[in-house]
Symmetry: C2
Subunit: 236 residues, 2 copies
């Protein structure tokens, strides 16, 4: 049965279903994934990820919202140790550049932090965004050209949460220039490199952000970040 | 007990806990949120969101990963109908500009789509990114300055999934120039406007993306989007 009669935009009744809240147990599971997700650097186990599990995680990414349903993402799976070593070499170079940007004290502490699991994780995933996908004019992208990058990040967060539910840890390494990865992975110039992820089973995880546990930074109070009605207007 | 002895970076044993997969039921709930989440335009109910529920959803956003634990996001809650109408007026203007960018046939179909629930949703949330938060040098942002925007998008996706579990729909409206919102919401020039969200209870949701149901765009096969080892190398 047609619900609306405006040409091609008519939708079938079967396309709408009752929404409603999840059960308390389901809701708790969603919050558990959100709160127990961590950025993993060192806790990876070598055990490979079963194909069916990896497909579930990638399907989760693929079901992220995307501007105009453009689905601009690609996922390059990297398991080859030689490729990982090339990426790690680039990281080492860029990480030393990064260390030098901090003050002397902070730079010394920075050098003590382990910030990647590139070689330790059995799987690396480079997530890209095809800036041209969906054609010249994409619904929702007309006034905000970077919304395709944002869609790709939504996919990454979906992947991260699905992985957590599977017992898989994910670490996002951003300490290189995205262009560093092009020659190693053969990524064309018109494709944006959004993220480089280290992925693998973990036996332990930090109970709070590792940078908080290591006293590098502190959790901000949520109340300071929420405004009512306009910028800067505190609630209550 | 100290696990590692390298000065301030030592972490307490209590900071690490066993990870492991969720139970099958918990895992299914996480996947349900991911797959049943929709971009909502028209299904909003006027019923206000209870404060405790809204706090849970915002806490979910606030527990997103952020580059260097910089937590660069702010959330401006908009409930005032006059403000929403101002935003809606801007949308109408920009949406007409957008319609004219498409071909004649596509533009006519574009005009038939409902693309926002600004006035219908009881709550709107403008999500911003403070480009200066965390100081002059932020760990992980040294070579990729836009990772703070990406962190903010991770927060948005967390919010969206938590909302779905609560029975709350979310619609991301991107059909305006972010600068259009500055005078309305008093957002300073140095703060990036990342998203404008319409938020409210929903009774029904599309079972697949609305743009797919309305035959505007199609779901791409995941297999076409996954490469093995390097860009363009298909699996198997």
């Amino acid at each position: 049965m047609r619900l609306a009669e405006h040409g091609d935009d008519a939708v079938d009744e079967a396309d709408l279903a009752p929404a409603g809240a999840f059960s308390p147990e389901e809701r708790a599971a969603v919050y558990r994934a959100i709160h127990a997700r961590r950025d993993v650097r060192d806790e990876f186990l070598p055990r490979p990820i079963p194909d069916a599990m990896l497909t579930r995680i990638l399907e989760a990414a693929h079901h992220a919202p995307s501007v105009g349903l453009s689905q601009p993402w690609n996922f390059i799976l990297i398991r080859d140790q030689a490729t990982k070593t090339q990426v790690h070499d680039v990281f080492l170079h860029r990480n030393e550049e990064a260390a030098q940007m901090f003050s002397e004290t902070r730079g010394a502490r920075y050098r003590q932090l382990k910030l990647e699991g590139i070689r330790k994780a059995p799987l690396n995933i480079c997530v890209t965004c095809d800036r041209a996908r969906g054609g010249r004019v994409v619904l929702g992208k007309t006034h905000q050209p970077d919304t395709d990058l944002y869609s790709t990040v939504c996919a990454i967060q979906n992947l991260w949460l699905a992985a957590r539910a599977e017992g898989i840890g994910v670490g996002w390494v951003s300490i290189f220039d995205p262009d560093d990865l092009r020659p190693i992975l053969g990524i064309p110039a018109e494709i944006a490199v959004v993220a480089y992820l280290c992925v693998g089973f973990v036996d332990q995880l930090f109970v709070r952000p590792e940078l908080e546990a290591r006293q590098w930074a502190e959790r901000l109070p949520l109340d300071d970040l929420v405004f009512e009605g306009a910028w800067g207007k505190m609630r209550g």
